[in-house]
């Protein structure tokens, strides 16, 4: 990894952070409708994984999908437009936060159903393999998805058919408001391993660790050695969705404070870059400023954009 690559990772994480801060503000001030599940705190997972991918690789995403979408290369302006339900949005305003997708950059789409896109990831991997390409598919899902049967059906097939798919489990410790240990029995890694899928656990707050683990999984998949499973231990700094403000009954302020103070993925990377003399704090700040300006401009674009024409309601309907 060279300096530029590290700074790109930093910029990508920063982009997600700032994007989500704007989203939070838009929702809480009533400017954005619907439901938004913020990725703040989990940035290193999407960025570490997507930096190990090529533009022509695929990802599938979840209800908490803004970070995945940005990490795969989407731009903030059209994402904001989608979240605001505006015509230039990635899905022409028809999908919104929970269905954001960017086919051009290989983001096959977010999904509002827990584990709802796991089959799609396996299918994309099948198609990539059948086309004799070395493209891979990454399936992002929250640890809540471990409760869904489809995941096990899909892992079984991925192993049987040696599919180039990487299952990335983002364990942010809570299924909505329930600690995962209360809903998830046994050893998580034993589950993929039961299918013969290579599985490893990684620190989801350390983008370098995620990137290295993802790199190994992607390289295997490209060589035709089949699926892998990455368990990324992480934490969402804010609520399950923007409306989840009073969280005291399911987790303590102290716990949140500790993660923010000690386990912030942006801070962890920056500290390391400075300690290793790869970048100075001024350089990091400059990256931050650039990203901030770009994201703010993206938001202005989206705020000024037009809503879809009402006649759009029955386009894309065929039956």
């Amino acid at each position: 990894m060279n300096r530029d690559q590290y700074l790109t990772m930093y910029a990508q994480m920063y982009r997600i952070r700032v994007f989500e801060e704007h989203v939070n503000e838009l929702y809480t001030s009533g400017k954005m409708p619907g439901l938004a599940h913020l990725y703040i705190g989990e940035e290193a997972v999407a960025v570490g994984v997507c930096q190990a991918l090529r533009p022509d690789d695929y990802i599938t995403s979840t209800h908490r999908g803004h970070g995945h979408c940005l990490a795969k290369g989407a731009s903030a302006d059209r994402m904001f437009a989608e979240l605001l339900g505006k015509a230039p949005g990635y899905c022409s305003g028809k999908g919104g936060s929970m269905h954001i997708a960017d086919q051009e950059r290989g983001n096959l789409g977010a999904n509002a159903i827990v584990a709802g896109s796991t089959g799609i990831a396996a299918g994309a991997a099948f198609a990539a393999k059948r086309a004799r390409s070395d493209r891979v598919a990454v399936c992002f899902f929250g640890e809540g998805g471990l409760g869904q049967g489809i995941l096990y059906e899909v892992m079984n097939m991925a192993a049987l058919w040696t599919l180039p798919v990487i299952f990335v489990c983002e364990n942010n410790l809570y299924n909505e408001y329930t600690p995962y240990a209360e809903t998830t029995a046994g050893d998580l890694l034993a589950r993929p391993r039961a299918f013969g899928i290579v599985a490893e656990e990684t620190d989801g707050q350390d983008v370098r660790a995620v990137h290295a683990a993802a790199g190994r999984a992607v390289a295997r998949a490209r060589r035709g050695e089949g699926p892998a499973f990455l368990l990324c231990q992480t934490y969402r700094f804010l609520g399950h969705h923007v409306g989840d403000v009073n969280r005291g009954y399911y987790r303590t302020k102290d716990e949140e404070q500790r993660w923010r103070a000690e386990r912030d993925p942006l801070q962890i990377l920056m500290t390391w870059l400075i300690a290793e003399r790869i970048a100075t704090s001024e350089e990091c700040a400059r990256v931050g400023e650039q990203v901030r300006a770009e994201v703010a401009a993206g938001l202005q674009f989206a705020l000024a954009a037009a809503y879809p024409d009402p006649s759009e309601v029955d386009t894309h309907v065929y039956a």
Partner: protein
């Protein structure tokens, strides 16, 4: 009588039935510690303990299946689906087991189970979170399908549902949870298969259920200002369907409009309209009109969503059409 919200009416039915019958257990995602996404199970974990208020993994297929097994052995599970959209993950268990066990076991077993949660569109939740699934479930023999509109109905029908010996699809509505209304106290229950006349009128019969009852009542007010008196029938229950109440009304008004939030093809309104044609054809002075959601997956953008859900104005227009005043 007490004034309760729809939410509290549901909750009080749960409490009374749980107090009355130890076999009643609650199962669902985030219903215990979190007290339910819409707070219908507020405080119930504390009251009844984890043996009767059971938080589950995000495993709809699994916990609905398990609830069926519990019911076969004599428990009375009340399953909460966070929204009915997620019931689609459990649909095989609902349709292939719950609905059929009494029949294909030759009456050896029955499944006294309720599945409840909010059905229908919210506000800009887009396609996977906005579905109205009443017709989907009402299609299957072996399922009661209930859709209360008022707090009193929420309570009275939920009590009947929990006491039912067979599975009940209990469709609530997120927009109604905060709505207040008078609810009789004491041992109050409402029968399945019995509609209510929500407003009397002589000119046209407007048939609705769940949230659309209120759209119909608002439309009726607007029509009254123009001298058109609409009778509004609140179905309360789709399976069994109280065709008699509709037919009786249509035989006085000679016109009918059926309102539903879901898509038009193969929907509840089609079934209701056909029942009117079968039982009251001679009484009709005009074809039955349907007011429905647009025939598209629910779009996200507000300019589109507003076009995809039915409004009072659509009901007003449909009524006028039956009267030849469009």
């Amino acid at each position: 009588m007490a004034e309760l919200t729809y939410r509290d009416a549901l909750r009080s039915a749960l409490i009374e039935e749980m107090d009355h019958d130890r076999r009643v257990v609650l199962i669902g995602e985030d219903i215990g510690v979190y007290q339910g996404t819409f707070r219908v199970t507020a405080d119930l974990l504390k009251r009844y303990g984890p043996g009767r208020v059971i938080d589950t993994p995000i495993s709809e297929l699994g916990f609905v299946g398990a609830a069926i097994g519990m019911a076969m052995l004599g428990l009375r599970p009340v399953v909460e689906v966070m929204t009915w959209n997620f019931s689609l993950l459990a649909m095989d268990q609902i349709v292939n087991n719950a609905a059929k066990l009494r029949y294909f076991s030759g009456g050896q077993v029955n499944v006294p189970m309720v599945i409840r949660g909010p059905n229908g569109a919210g506000v800009q939740l887009s396609a996977q979170h906005s579905q109205s699934l009443e017709a989907t479930y009402a299609h299957f023999p072996g399922l009661y399908v209930v859709a209360p509109a008022t707090p009193a109905e929420a309570k009275g029908l939920l009590r009947t549902a929990i006491r039912s010996d067979d599975p009940v699809i209990f469709l609530e509505n997120a927009a109604l949870y905060g709505m207040k209304g008078e609810v009789p106290d004491s041992d109050f229950a409402l029968p399945f298969g019995k509609a209510a006349v929500a407003r009397s009128g002589r000119d046209v019969t407007v048939v609705a259920y769940s949230r659309m009852v209120f759209a119909a009542l608002t439309a009726a007010e607007q029509l009254a200002a123009e001298g058109i008196e609409a009778e509004v029938i609140n179905m309360r229950c789709l399976r069994p369907l109280d065709a008699a109440t509709i037919v009786e009304s249509v035989s006085r008004t000679h016109r009918a409009v059926v309102v539903q939030e879901q898509w038009k093809p193969f929907g509840a309104a089609a079934e209701i309209a056909m029942r009117i044609y079968e039982d009251a054809f001679d009484q009709l002075d005009a074809p039955v009109e349907r007011v429905t959601g647009a025939d598209v997956p629910m779009p996200y953008a507000r300019t589109l969503e507003v076009r995809a859900v039915p409004h009072e104005a659509d009901i007003v227009a449909a009524v006028k059409k039956t009267l030849g005043k469009d």
